[in-house]
Symmetry: C2
Subunit: 397 residues, 2 copies
């Protein structure tokens, strides 16, 4: 029984591959602080559940493949509020930002096509791009430079005849880097000059801590055919389980191709679109409050991390992750140790080993990604456990 080459080139998710160890530890009574996955403990706005409970149709029918009229209009109105003009036909509602990326790459990649992505990057890009037959061409960035990737020459040097797109995540998962308008423009100019798609994953748009806002690539109106925006309600409204995302572009030919895949899978969940649409009715005070909460968590996280001897990290400017280089030999081994051997008063901490966030072999081996998605007190305790764990791990060797 043959398996596909492309699936064999994929790996289990670094955020999820240790789940079996975590489940075993929990079954044995251990408490685990989970910083491995971007699952916030922030409450989902009750507007979601109210809307879902109010659904009164007797038949839970398919929605339109593009998305419900209501959801599409909600997205148009949201973008209008942030100053970006989109039309309903520029939008496809997808099963999370994940499906938006899958459909996008299926629509633009052939066997061997390349996408340039600043590294480290959200590891599931590897799966989505491999599934479409493509390859990631990584652009290395480093903590010492705040993971900055707004370097037109470095990007340009990676372009070859197989390059189809430059993909950026802004604000960035996992580094927390946030582009200025000028930086976005500089990267965009490279894509424009070489006739490449500029894929901007902006699912963390509202979460910036040291700037007014994160620029939206949809405002680059001289590049309507190049720009593709990926969006989602998952992080914005702490509604990860709703699986509602968006593929957004004014490139008509691209959207026509993408619609084929949307029709193939019929539609996105009807009821979740009802709930997701209601989420957008929350006012700016919601984001102010959540942003403030994440800012405090970021500060704690950064302070506690940099206090651990030998840890290297850059202060994140946005999103809710921080990358950290640890004074250990192997983050996979370390994480296994933390879940199977280590404990302090019956507690431990789980992070994502960062090897999977890199495409360059050997990079990220002693790094982890921390999602600061827990309450301050829990976060403090989790980082204390991390510090204790590093010491115990190194003593053990």
């Amino acid at each position: 029984m043959k398996l596909s080459k492309k699936s064999q080139l994929c790996t289990l998710s670094p955020m999820r591959k240790f789940t079996p160890y975590a489940m075993a530890a929990e079954a044995a009574g251990k408490k685990i602080y989970k910083l491995n996955i971007g699952q916030p403990d922030i409450e989902t706005p009750p507007e979601f559940f109210d809307a879902v409970r109010g659904f009164s149709q007797k038949v839970l029918a398919y929605a339109n493949s593009q998305g419900t009229e209501q959801m599409l209009q909600t997205v148009v109105d949201y973008y209008k509020r942030i100053g970006v003009e989109y039309d309903k036909k520029d939008i496809l509602i997808t099963t999370g930002g994940s499906e938006a990326l899958q459909i996008l790459f299926l629509s633009i990649m052939d066997e061997g096509s390349e996408v340039i992505i600043p590294e480290p990057f959200y590891s599931n890009y590897n799966t989505f791009i491999r599934a479409a037959g493509g390859v990631i061409r990584p652009m290395p960035t480093i903590a010492e430079e705040d993971y900055n990737y707004a370097k037109p020459e470095a990007l340009e040097a990676l372009i070859n005849e197989n390059t189809r797109a430059i993909a950026i995540i802004n604000p960035h998962n996992p580094t927390g880097n946030v582009l200025t308008e000028q930086e976005l423009r500089a990267i965009a100019d490279v894509a424009k000059k070489h006739d490449l798609y500029l894929i901007c994953d902006e699912v963390y748009r509202e979460f910036v801590y040291d700037a007014d806002k994160s620029p939206c690539a949809g405002s680059l109106r001289d590049m309507d055919d190049n720009v593709v925006v990926i969006d989602s309600v998952s992080k914005r409204f702490s509604a990860c389980g709703a699986r509602i995302g968006m593929l957004i572009s004014r490139n008509k030919a691209l959207m026509a191709e993408a619609l084929k895949f949307c029709q193939g899978r019929l539609c996105t969940t009807t009821l979740e679109q009802v709930g997701a649409s209601a989420l957008y009715s929350v006012g700016p005070e919601y984001f102010d409050k959540v942003r403030e909460e994440y800012r405090r968590r970021r500060d704690i996280c950064y302070r506690k991390l940099t206090a651990i001897p030998g840890v290297v990290c850059a202060k994140p400017m946005g999103a809710f992750y921080v990358m950290a280089k640890l004074p250990i030999d192997d983050a996979d081994e370390f994480m296994k140790f933390m879940l199977t051997e280590f404990e302090d008063h019956g507690e431990t901490v789980m992070c994502a080993p960062a090897g999977g966030f890199y495409a360059t072999p050997g990079r990220g081996i002693n790094e982890i990604r921390i999602a600061y998605v827990l309450k301050e007190k829990d976060l403090e305790r989790a980082l204390d456990l991390l510090a204790m764990g590093i010491e115990a791990y190194n003593k053990r060797k």
Copy 2:
């Protein structure tokens, strides 16, 4: 801006490509009887909505990538009730049967790999297989033989070094063919002999009208590594909008590959899994009632269709579709005519032109697929409109 070759080999869905015409007709006040899509008017069991309304967690969090424990156990219990032993680890909960097929083909197909599929077939297989770089090798079947495809020699003749799987839909969409146990065994033996996957799409399992039941491929215990079952709540419980499906196999290596794609897209909707799990609490009387309803509709549909001069069709044995060869030149043109020009007292009917259900060029051009998903009275009226429409269309020429 390049588009992918594989997306260009895909087409819009024959069930959905005329939606823009339908929307325009409806906007102009026309009533359309929609037989184009398998969207039943049967009410979704209220257990679904009750469970969803009872969801009391404050954070709508990600589920496990494999599916929630509750949903996995529900599926195990359901299969046990129909006499098939599966374990939770043999099951992945997916976003509809559609995603189960997508993930399966990504896991087993390379560029140029082939899947043998009896033709006509559910058209979206084309999109799923193309997306994975594969090709459909059709096995033609005909109305005059009740679309029977249990022909081991004919199947065997299509096998070559690129063949990875035989995929069957049982009960069959769009033909309504239902396999006997002996027929399933005969097909399975071909897959076994040639070490191929046997993909059995059994989403219409409960809907058989002239036999006791439709055999489940999961009971072929000498072929644990070959058999993959695709399942879904969409049709079974008239819950199409829930997008809950299942990829089921005892082949551990396959399931390990499939899990990579499941982890890549994080999870299936949390809330819909809560609702879908509750669906399985309905008793056998639910299926008896629904089956009887569809049986009546099937009978009406077949009677009215065969009364139209020049129509060729086979009486469906299961599912809720019937293929019909019409005395017209081109079903695409005919459908456009029905939506844009034809009307009787402000009403018309919409079916799916069947060209997209065939992979052999030229086949299906004057055929349509009818989904008998409307109440008897509506179905009668819809088929009268079809008869009138055929006459009007041919007079117009």
